[in-house]
């Protein structure tokens, strides 16, 4: 009854002041909405366990080279077997790698993402097929009938949902393959698999140099911590590294959740920054609403005094104010949840086009029951935080004086201190957020403008995969690509065509190598990328030859094995001399020949243009001496690259209908998508920063307007005794600037420190971002000055006589 009485009153008070209610609810909706959105995003991409039994114990084991964590099939099959045999940390372990599957049923060929896996992948994920069966041990025996399990989407989209699909055959990369099962809708483990084929490679029958690269999926024993597992993996891998330095020079292994492995080693820092940023926005929202409620508590001091006189217990007085903050936060929270749900849905549509990769199956942007519970807890916490200070203030005061005089009383020293503190907090928090956001904008601008070492304009690219069944011999592969190049080069509007295994912006194949005469210490072989290049490609894509020559007709299978290296590689291993004529060899296979360097090209970024990847070196070998079935092709065109999509696809299809061109995209779009993740983070921080600026400016204005208003009488007195308007204005402005200065002194260093993680991750060439720490204080100074000037001007506009009578 009593609670209902107070609740009813609080509701009435909020209805009576629609402006106040709308403002506070909007502020909380913005703060809580951003917070819930961020938590949902982080849960989707990082923290929510995979949706399988024991999802919290499902991890991936991948290789780590020289401290850099790799993802996506980086562990040698032999290393996987060693871990499987020696580790005591897992209840289940299996291996897989991702491959391309060109499915062809006679009518049309389509490219799919295949997962080549050990048979236990389905029992690992405790998932039964919708139709048919999954793999048995026999399916994994080399030479057995090729079989495949397909995803629900593949069944629906490629096979038209044929109810009799089980037992049917389809050509997979030219090999007749029997469909034995269809997995349930949504099942795409381990990432975005369209079909699964059994892993038939056997480490016991392969040399290390022939070993394929895999990822290991493991079910960690619940009793083992990831730190313990990491130690064990390091020990196993160190032993292998000592035994096989040519293939495992600096290779170790790490364990991570699938989600974290996918996000890379900078993910923790980015997530930490996101959570910090969103916490700051929420704190700003709470500070603002708390401050508005505090102003109301001051205005309602008389009402409180009456309640005290009537014997209201302190708990009821506190609850009286708390009800208002509860209603505001609950309403704000509800709107915030709706806002977050809408933003998440929007993100689901936008994100696939922003990122360079297919989104993994666990990236489901939604609010689940756990998030709703977390949101309720956050709403409860914000209601407490926003309400407790005004409520506490409500129970303090000279109630006798208020009851006698009926006045609210002048602003006390304590209230003044609280107001000043609020301004300082708002300045500091907004400074940190704006600095972070500003630094990201500058870093991304520099990154997006960074040269990949090629000409990105008017280039269209695509991926081609020749099946092993139809193109088993190197000369067949060479013939195909030569015919394709000839066809493309003769197409009107196409100025040039080329092919390489890894396009700029895509990671190269990093292998241990040995420059001739280089002393290897502790069997730690250095690494460099290996990229196979078709003749004429370097000219087509605009790679700048600095020294020596390009590949040409002299480079044949039976001629001298040659390579072209990047200038960074040249500087590192052949400093102060020309590397032309020097030799090196990749050490992962004993049969690898010594390669003679015939040219030096300007450094090309293979990977994302961030610190970890952008300085990694690479060497290029001619296609004629290093045949590959999978190549990326690039054409240089006159005009808009997008206009040549059809010409490119037609050219590819005309040579072999079973070989489709896939991942067709202009090169500049690839580069843009390469930084799509960071661009998304930048945009997110920009939203945080904008919210922070709006919240801080409105909050600072509110606090200063309130405190200036309470000083109206004092201002009247000062003017009555002769102070000029300028002197009064100067006094008020100085006070605002003093709080600004303190806030900046706290906020700027913290903002600088917070931004350093991003700076290290991106690794900018220049320190342009220092300018942010000049621009942001200026922006905040302008905001604070306006927020101080407006109420001061209003107070001065009042006649001194009116100011003296002001209550």
């Amino acid at each position: 009854m009593n609670a209902l009485f107070d609740l009813k009153y609080a509701y009435r008070m909020l209805i009576k002041n629609p402006g106040f209610t709308a403002l506070t609810v909007s502020v909380m909706a913005a703060g809580l909405g951003l917070c819930v959105f961020m938590l949902a995003f982080i849960a989707s991409v990082m923290t929510r366990p995979l949706p399988f039994d024991n999802g919290q114990d499902m991890y991936i084991v991948e290789a780590m080279e020289d401290g850099v964590q790799y993802n996506g099939g980086s562990l040698l099959l032999h290393d996987y077997e060693a871990i499987k045999a020696q580790s005591d940390s897992f209840t289940q372990i299996g291996a897989y790698y991702t491959a391309t599957a060109n499915l062809s049923n006679g009518d049309r060929a389509q490219r799919f993402a295949a997962t080549v896996t050990t048979a236990n992948i389905f029992s690992y994920t405790s998932t039964e097929p919708l139709l048919g069966r999954t793999f048995t041990a026999n399916d994994a025996i080399e030479g057995s009938t090729p079989v495949a399990v397909i995803a629900y989407s593949t069944w629906q989209n490629y096979f038209g949902g044929d109810a009799n699909i089980i037992g049917q055959s389809v050509k997979n990369n030219g090999v007749s393959t029997q469909i034995i099962g269809v997995m349930p809708q949504g099942y795409r483990f381990p990432n975005m698999a369209d079909l699964w084929v059994p892993l038939q490679d056997d480490a016991t029958r392969l040399n290390r140099s022939e070993s394929i690269s895999v990822s290991a999926f493991v079910m960690k024993k619940p009793t083992r911590s990831t730190a313990q597992v990491s130690e064990e993996l390091k020990a196993i891998m160190a032993e292998i590294s000592q035994k096989y330095p040519e293939t495992n020079g600096k290779t170790s292994a790490y364990i991570a959740t699938f989600q974290k492995a996918m996000m890379g080693d900078g993910a923790n820092m980015i997530v930490g920054l996101m959570l910090t940023a969103v916490s700051f926005v929420l704190i700003l929202a709470c500070v603002n609403v708390g401050n508005l409620l505090l102003a109301r508590a001051n205005e309602r001091a008389k009402e409180t005094a009456i309640r005290v006189a009537l014997g209201a217990p302190q708990s009821r007085l506190i609850m009286q104010m708390m009800w208002e903050s509860i209603i505001i936060c609950v309403l704000g929270g509800l709107f915030g949840l709706l806002l977050a749900a809408w933003a998440l849905e929007l993100l689901s549509y936008v994100l696939p086009n922003m990122l360079p990769i297919a989104l993994p199956f666990w990236w489901i942007m939604k609010l689940d029951s756990e998030l709703i519970l977390q949101s309720i807890a956050i709403i409860g916490a914000t209601a407490f935080v926003t309400g407790i200070v005004p409520a506490w203030k409500m129970t303090r005061g000279d109630f006798n004086a208020i009851l006698r005089d009926g006045t609210r009383g002048a602003q006390g020293k304590r209230a003044g201190r609280i107001n000043r503190l609020l301004v300082i907090v708002e300045v500091a928090l907004s400074c940190i957020l704006l600095s972070l956001s500003g630094v990201l904008v500058v870093l991304l601008q520099e990154t997006n403008n960074s040269s990949y070492g090629v000409d990105k304009n008017n280039k269209l690219t695509a991926r081609i995969g020749l099946s092993e069944a139809n193109y088993p011999e190197p000369h067949q592969q060479e013939q195909y690509y030569q015919r394709l190049m000839d066809k493309l080069r003769s197409t009107p509007g196409i100025k040039g065509a080329g092919a390489m295994t890894s396009l700029p912006g895509n990671g190269a194949w990093y292998q241990p190598f040995l420059p001739e005469g280089y002393e290897v210490v502790d069997n730690q072989y250095p690494n460099t990328g290996r990229v196979t290049v078709f003749e004429g490609t370097m000219d087509t894509i605009g790679m700048e030859l600095l020294e020596g020559r390009n590949f040409d007709s002299r480079d044949q299978l039976d001629s001298l094995p040659v390579a072209i290296i990047s200038d960074q590689l040249a500087r590192k291993y052949w400093p102060n001399e020309s590397p032309i004529g020097k030799r090196f060899r990749y050490t992962n296979d004993e049969s690898n020949p010594w390669l003679t360097i015939v040219g030096v090209v300007k450094h090309v970024i293979h990977g994302q243009p961030y610190s970890n990847m952008k300085h990694r070196t690479a060497a290029y070998v001619p296609f004629t001496q290093s045949h590959r079935r999978f190549m990326s092709i690039v054409i240089d065109v006159n005009g808009d690259a997008d206009d040549f999509r059809e010409a490119l696809s037609d050219a590819v299809a005309s040579l072999d209908p079973e070989v489709p061109a896939y991942n067709v995209a202009p090169l500049d779009l690839r580069f843009k998508r390469n930084t799509g993740g960071m661009t998304f983070i930048r945009d997110l921080f920009a939203v945080f920063a904008l919210c922070a600026l709006l919240l801080a400016s409105s909050g600072i204005y509110g606090v200063l307007a309130n405190s200036t208003s309470k000083r109206t009488q004092e201002i009247g007195i000062r003017r009555a005794i002769g102070a000029t308007d300028e002197e009064v204005m100067s006094m008020l402005m100085k006070q605002g600037w003093k709080q600004l200065a303190i806030g900046l002194i706290i906020g700027l260093p913290l903002g600088f420190l917070a931004s350093q993680g991003m700076v290290q991750l991106v690794g900018p060439e220049h320190n342009y971002y220092y300018g942010v720490f000049v621009a942001i204080p200026l922006i905040i100074a302008i905001v604070v000055s306006i927020a101080t000037y407006m109420p001061a001007k209003k107070a001065i506009a009042l006649e001194p006589s009116s100011a003296l009578r002001y209550e």
Binding site: F5, L310, A312, R316
Partner: protein, 238 residues
Amino acid sequence: MSNQQTLIELNSIQKVFFTDEVETHALSNIELSINAGEYISISGPSGCGKSTLLSILGLLDTVTNGQYQLNGHQVASLNATQRARIRNKEVGFIFQSFNLISDLTVEENVALPLTYRDDFSSQDIDKAVKEALEKVDMAHRANHFPSQLSGGQQQRVAVARAIAGNPSIILADEPTGNLDSKNAEAVMSLLDELHREGATICMVTHDPRSAKRAQRLVEILDGKVIADNPIARGVQAA
């Protein structure tokens, strides 16, 4: 409530206000007792300490020194929560400026102190509010807000709020100070009637005519009781 039972007993009450380095002795050695059913008025010039005394009587303020017993409770050393509980149960306040909460209806204003009590169910509250409003002849305005009432009506609602919980004593601080003579007379008549029905009333007033309607007049000057005399019955009836 039986007459002649001591309801309030103040012994050697001192109240000192400390502001910066200045000590202000608002009350010095106050000795005062009020019996149940008594109607006393406290008067004196501005700043003499009468409102401070009323605040102490109403447990709105604490004493610096001395003993205060209210209806058998030693209240001088109670904490804020205990004082609030006793204030709610034992004291009914009537203020000069009415002090109704503008955003509560008449009915809700009267009910407010009762909602702070655990021994009143919602039915009890409804009943007590109805009775109190009928007593001050304001039942027909139960759903109005204070701003819709005249000053006299607001003060009658304040009286209803003061008596709804059946307190041991009604403390009235200049109850007619903000009213015209007609409304002032109506409120004073209401207090007379409450007294006749057995209520104990302690009223602070500047107005000699109002003061003389009580049974006893306590005069204060410079924080001290300088006179405490019964008032002749003939004057009371005037």
